[in-house]
Structure formats: structure tokens, C-alpha cells
Amino acid sequence: MSDHFIFLMGKYEARVPKDRLYAPNHMWFRAEGGAYRVGFTAFAVRLLQDVYFLDWTVESGDVVAAKQEIGEVESSKAVSTLHAPFDGTLLRFNRELMKDPTAINVDNYGAGWLFDFDPKNALLLTAEDYILRLEGTWDETQRQIKGQMND
């Protein structure tokens, strides 16, 4: 019995481990001591490709609102602002990543974790539900990305 699911992005196999929960914005949530450790899923990292810049615009300890901008990431192929997935408190950031964000590409489910978070109203998905969501939105996601490349 495998410890993860696979979601196919074209030919790429994105891993979805069963040992944690997921948010709709493609971040994983792993329960640790009363709060959650949060990082990018393989799906997110596959779209980003090589991450070379990561910056946070809030501080450890800040209380944030859902969708509030908390930072930005830039990679060889993409840019993105980063947003709080839910209301809650940002407990601490992965300081190692700030020096070298390539851990996001090398080990996104382990050493590449982003921050610890204590959510107030979290609607977290199981690995199965996250896969279903990926399947349901994959066409639209590709359309959006292809649409941007045509602009």
C-alpha cells in the first residue's frame, strides 16, 4: 500500500503524500505540536520550477487574514505573490529557506517547508480530496496558464 497518490501533470508525476492535509492554494499542512507546518505541494513546485527568490512581507507572530498577502516567490518560469490560506497566526518562517530557497525544489515535503501556522478556520482537504480537486481544476489551470503565455 503506497504512502502517496500520484497526480499526472502532462507526463510529470506529482506526488501527494497521504500523511498530511492540503489547502486549496496548493500548500500542504502537517500537524506538529498543536499547529501546522506548511509547504508547497509537488503540483505547485512543478509549476514554479527552479525557485530562486523568496521573500516574506509579514513577521513571525503576525495575525493574518485569509488571502492576505504574506510574501512573494520568483522562479525561472514564474512569479507569484503568496497569501495566507486561512485566518490565523504565522508562528515562524523556515529561516534556512531565506538563505537558499532551492530546498523547495529538492525536498518540498521536508526541508523545503515554508512556515508554521496556527489557523483559526481551516478547511483542510485529505490527500484523496486534494487529488479530486486537482483533477477537477486541471483543465482550467492549463487554460489560465496557456492564456497568460498567449498575452
Binding site: 501533470m9 492554494n25 488571502k67 512569479v79 507569484s80 497569501h83 492549463q142 487554460r143 496557456k146
Partner: protein
């Protein structure tokens, strides 16, 4: 005063950055000595209050005008228009900040915008040059000389204009100070005064369709309607400093905040955030433009001691016609998928 003179106004930077100040001084020094060019300096035009000397001077210029400022040309052009300084958009060879080489500059890329247009414009050209684009004063001076030559050749359109010296309501003493070369080393006199850094929207009427969404959305009374039933930025100083919310709500991207850090909001050329990279923000949980506008508006309401309203007030009901066109291309997209580096 000859009828061929072109007026060049330099709108100063707000910042104390010595590099910027130096660029301004170098340009000023070169232009003060240049024959055929009438040169003046004002504080940042965006910060001038109605009735300010600097604005009065700009209003007195009826011939071709070149404005050098630390803003995108589109922002500068419509800012001038709002102050009654109108004209046709002159095309410059220079780029604005961040513009790529293969993009057109100036008014040429306004494509199929179906805005209500300015009220009425003088039959003359206004050239807006972005001082942030080049470090070298020589680039600006050469372009100004090129433009001056170009407009002086076209004497026919100019002939119909009433030029500076014929203006009975101009400020003759100010013009006098400026037509005579200044004492060496003293630099030009700065016309006008800016007491404070202001913050308010500027409407690009080449894009504005008068849909009036902005006046519904802004709960601080910044917008109004003029006597021709056109949208107007009526109470500029009601605008909450730093808040760009209404610009996100405008369906035509016609609202500009010239000093905002995001190029698309500050009046950069083009339709929106472009670039060679994919923007994954929506996938990674960013709010939609409308949601973000409502969040920003709530911040300002709460700061004012008022209640947050979320999406319950003044939110445009927009048609999303986009989905329809993309469905036709869906089969093509799926075929092309494997050729993408996904």
C-alpha cells in the same frame, strides 16, 4: 518671443535621491542654454494644488509642450489634462520605465480603447517623457532637440495657434524671467510650491467609458459627476493615502495612481501585468481584483472609524464573457499541451 519656441517643463522628483537631482540639474543646465527652447521647472506636478503658480504657468503655455517627469507618460498626460492642460499625445522615441525595446511608446499603443475622451483639447502636442527610464541627461536633451525640430517644421498646424506672447491672461512677468537666460550657476527658478505629497486618482479618458463603477465603489466621496454627466475626480484630497482600491474595480484600467508601486496601477503602457513569466498568484490563493479592492477599502473604512462592508456595497456586477471564447479554443489547447514545458 519667436513663434517656433517649444516649451519644456521639468516636473521635479519628490525624492532627495542625489542621482535624480543630478539628472534634473544636468538637463536644466543644457536646456537653459538651448535656443528655441523655453524652459521651466516646477515641483512634482502631481503634488501641486489647483491655482498653484506652476499650474498657472503650464496653463499659459498654448504651443507645443514637453513635460519631463518622474511618472509614466500616460499618468503625466492625464494629470495635465485634469488641470486643464490639454493637447494631443505626442509620440516620443524614448521608452518609459521598464518598457521593452520592441514595444511602441507614446500614445500609439492605445489600440481599440473606446473611452469618452477628453472634453476638448488644444490643437497642439504634449510630449511626456519619463525621467526614470535613462540615467543619461544627454538622451533627454537630444530627444527634446529632435522633437523641437520636428514640430518647428510643421508650421501649418502651428499657424492656427495663439502662442504664449498673445495670451492676455498669461503671467508676463514669469515668462519674462524665463525667456531671459538665468544667471550662470543659479539654476532655473522653480515655479510653484508643493507643501505635501498628495495621493489621488487620475482618470485616463481615452479608456474611461463613463460606466460610473468607481463612484459607486468609493465610499469616501472622491468621485463626482461634472455638468456634462461625465465622471470626474472631484475631491482629490478625500482620497485615502496609499489606497488604490478603485483602480482594481475599473473594468477598463482607466484609473491611475501615478505614485503607486505597481506599474499597471501607476499608468505603465500596456494592458496590465505582462512579462515573460507566468503569474501563479491566483492559483496560490490570491484574492481576485474585486476581493482585493474590497479588502483595501475595508482597511480605510476601519481606519476612519467606520464599519467594514466587505463585498456588500458598490461592487460592480461584471460579465465574464471570457469563458465563452476560450471554450472554442479548448481542443487546440489540449493538442498543444504536450508541446508546453509542463
Amino acid at each position: 518671443m519667436t513663434t517656433n519656441r517649444i516649451t519644456v517643463v521639468l516636473s521635479q522628483t519628490r525624492s532627495k535621491n542625489p542621482g535624480k537631482r543630478r539628472l534634473e540639474e544636468e538637463i536644466a543646465t543644457a536646456l537653459l542654454l538651448e535656443p528655441g527652447i523655453e524652459f521651466a521647472v516646477t515641483p512634482n506636478v502631481y503634488d501641486l494644488s489647483p491655482g498653484d503658480t506652476g499650474l498657472l504657468y503650464l496653463n499659459s503655455v498654448k504651443g507645443h509642450l514637453i513635460l519631463l517627469s518622474w511618472q509614466y507618460p500616460r499618468a503625466a498626460h492625464w494629470l495635465l489634462d485634469r488641470n486643464g492642460i490639454s493637447g494631443k499625445q505626442g509620440v516620443t522615441m524614448l521608452k518609459s520605465l521598464g518598457e521593452e525595446d520592441d514595444e511602441e511608446s507614446g500614445g500609439a499603443n492605445e489600440e481599440e480603447h473606446r473611452g469618452i475622451g477628453p472634453v476638448e483639447i488644444l490643437d497642439r502636442y504634449i510630449f511626456c517623457l519619463d525621467l526614470r527610464a535613462y540615467d543619461d541627461a544627454g538622451v533627454y536633451v537630444e530627444e527634446i532637440k529632435r522633437i523641437a525640430k520636428e514640430v518647428s517644421v510643421k508650421l501649418v498646424p502651428l499657424a492656427g495657434l495663439r502662442i504664449d506672447s498673445d495670451q492676455s491672461d498669461s503671467k508676463p512677468d514669469l515668462l519674462q524671467r524665463f525667456s531671459a537666460p538665468e544667471k550662470k550657476g543659479a539654476g532655473p527658478i522653480v515655479l510653484g510650491e508643493s507643501m505635501v505629497n498628495r495621493w489621488y486618482p487620475v482618470i485616463d479618458y481615452s479608456r474611461c467609458t463613463n460606466c460610473l463603477e468607481c463612484i459607486d465603489f468609493c465610499l469616501f466621496g472622491v468621485y463626482g459627476i461634472d455638468h456634462k454627466e461625465r465622471i470626474l475626480v472631484e475631491n482629490q484630497d478625500n482620497c485615502k493615502r496609499g489606497c488604490p482600491a478603485c483602480s482594481r474595480v475599473c473594468p477598463e484600467n482607466a484609473i491611475i495612481f501615478p505614485e503607486h508601486k505597481t506599474p499597471a496601477i501607476a499608468g505603465a503602457p500596456g494592458e496590465g501585468p505582462g512579462g515573460l513569466k507566468i503569474d501563479l498568484s491566483k492559483l496560490f490563493g490570491a484574492p481576485s481584483a474585486i476581493e482585493l479592492a474590497a479588502m483595501e477599502r475595508d482597511v480605510e473604512l476601519v481606519k476612519d472609524g467606520r464599519a467594514a462592508v466587505g463585498l456588500s456595497v458598490g461592487i460592480p456586477r461584471r460579465q465574464t464573457g471570457k469563458a465563452a471564447t476560450e471554450k472554442d479554443d479548448l481542443d487546440k489547447l489540449m493538442d498543444e499541451l504536450d508541446s508546453l514545458d509542463l
